[in-house]
């Protein structure tokens, strides 16, 4: 269970949000809404532990995440605005290495399968730098297929994706929720995800 209590975020001399409280249980999705610059990315980074909130605490099953450290990182997957792929490595190398970094070593065939599913079949051995914007995004998102984490934190996963890819992601998210996973995500596009409970968090 992920809990945020009393979260406040200050950037420069601007307070982006204050007193945000929520708790997210297994199988639940939380969508964070808000106009550009309202602090969605900042909130997600706080939930990951990349930034400290000015006030408040994020807890994972009752323990403050800042005290959990590496253990917490083992249960989350964060995919932000930046894709985290290396331009010079090939698609398949990128996927295998980023998974290894997240603690899961996957075989070549497993990786190929995931890429195939993401619609990157036949492009496994191209360096990422020649890919199109949407294809890079797909490479980053392919990691969701191989990881075994419970909590997914996704910052605009749909940016640059075409309709077929949006469909794939939607199915993926629904499956994850059905299996008892949790998702926190932001998006400016409409996406209809069927889930047990969907919480909407509106910023600013």
């Amino acid at each position: 269970m992920l809990q945020g209590s009393n979260l406040t975020c200050v950037r420069g001399d601007r307070r982006l949000f204050k007193n945000i409280n929520f708790s997210l249980r297994e199988g639940e999705l939380m969508q964070v809404h808000g106009p550009n610059g309202s602090g969605k990315t900042s909130l997600l980074r706080i939930l990951c532990g990349l930034t400290m909130p000015a006030v408040g605490e994020v807890c994972w099953h009752g323990d403050a995440i800042r005290s959990l450290g590496g253990d917490y990182y083992g249960v989350i997957t964060y995919i932000g605005h930046l894709s985290g792929t290396k331009d010079d490595l090939t698609v398949i190398e990128n996927l295998r290495i980023s998974s290894a970094l997240a603690g899961i070593e996957i075989s070549e065939s497993k990786a190929r399968e995931a890429l195939e599913y993401m619609g990157l079949g036949g492009r496994e051995t191209l360096p990422v730098k020649v890919l199109s914007q949407g294809q890079r995004r797909r490479v980053a998102l392919a990691r969701l297929l191989v990881c075994k984490t419970v909590l997914w934190i996704l910052d605009e996963p749909l940016a640059a994706l075409d309709v077929s890819a949006v469909k794939i992601i939607q199915v993926m998210l629904e499956q994850h929720l059905a299996q008892g996973g949790m998702i926190v995500m932001t998006t400016h596009q409409e996406i209809a995800i069927s889930a047990k409970t969907i919480q909407q968090l509106q910023l600013a």
Partner: protein, 219 residues
């Protein structure tokens, strides 16, 4: 895990094919610049040799520091590393080791040949090589701290040298000092034990310092 990081960084280096070679050639070119501008007198060159080789090694190592984290930062991989359940200092040690394998080792291998061009005697050559072998890992380790601190400050390339060079200087002094001591017929074991001490200290401390610098830079 550790191995994955090293492997990844080496892979990246190989992908840019001639990467190892270019460090090497940079080193050779810098070493060759001095005779060009100072003139070809051998006795003069011999005195300069250890200093020149060490300064070149230092620059070669420093020049490639920018690469260490900045590309990982720009494309978001670094965020992922911080979120990795693996121990961050270990990851960093892996990266520093990869950096040394790509920039340090070629220099160590090349040093004797350059020494010959500067007409150094044989035992001075071996002392030079040994001092580089012990000293260059220190450069990579200390460099990692500087690279982490200047991360995201665009144009960090020069800033990093500002931070790192003062820390490099002791290594430089004792490294080239060892060679001079040996040419002068004095003992150089004191220099070596100091270099060894630097190595151990930086091996233990640098990954931690780098890890916290990275967390600060990414805040």
């Amino acid at each position: 895990m550790f191995l994955w990081i090293i492997q990844r960084d080496l892979l990246l280096a190989m992908r840019r094919q001639a990467d190892v070679l270019t460090t090497l050639f940079f080193f050779i070119i810098v070493v060759s610049l001095f005779p060009l501008s100072v003139g070809p007198e051998m006795s003069m060159l011999r005195t300069m040799a250890p200093g020149v080789v060490w300064v070149a090694a230092l620059l070669a190592s420093m020049l490639s520091l920018g690469r260490m984290f900045s590309s990982d930062y720009l494309d978001g991989t670094l965020e992922q590393m911080l979120l990795s359940p693996q121990s961050l200092p270990l990851l960093i040690l892996g990266k520093a080791l990869a950096h040394w394998l790509v920039t340090g080792v070629p220099l160590v291998l090349m040093a004797p040949i350059l020494g010959i061009q500067y007409d150094l005697p044989t035992d001075a050559l071996s002392v030079l090589t040994a001092s580089l072998l012990l000293g260059t890992p220190v450069l990579s380790l200390i460099g990692a701290i500087g690279a982490a601190l200047t991360l995201g400050l665009r144009g960090g390339g020069v800033l990093v040298s500002l931070l790192v060079l003062p820390l490099y200087i002791p290594v430089l002094i004792f490294g080239s000092g060892a060679v001079e001591a040996s040419t002068a017929g004095l003992g150089y074991s004191a220099h070596f034990s100091l270099l060894g001490a630097f190595f151990l200290v930086s091996l233990v401390l640098a990954p931690w310092a780098t890890a916290s610098s990275l967390r600060i830079s990414m805040e």
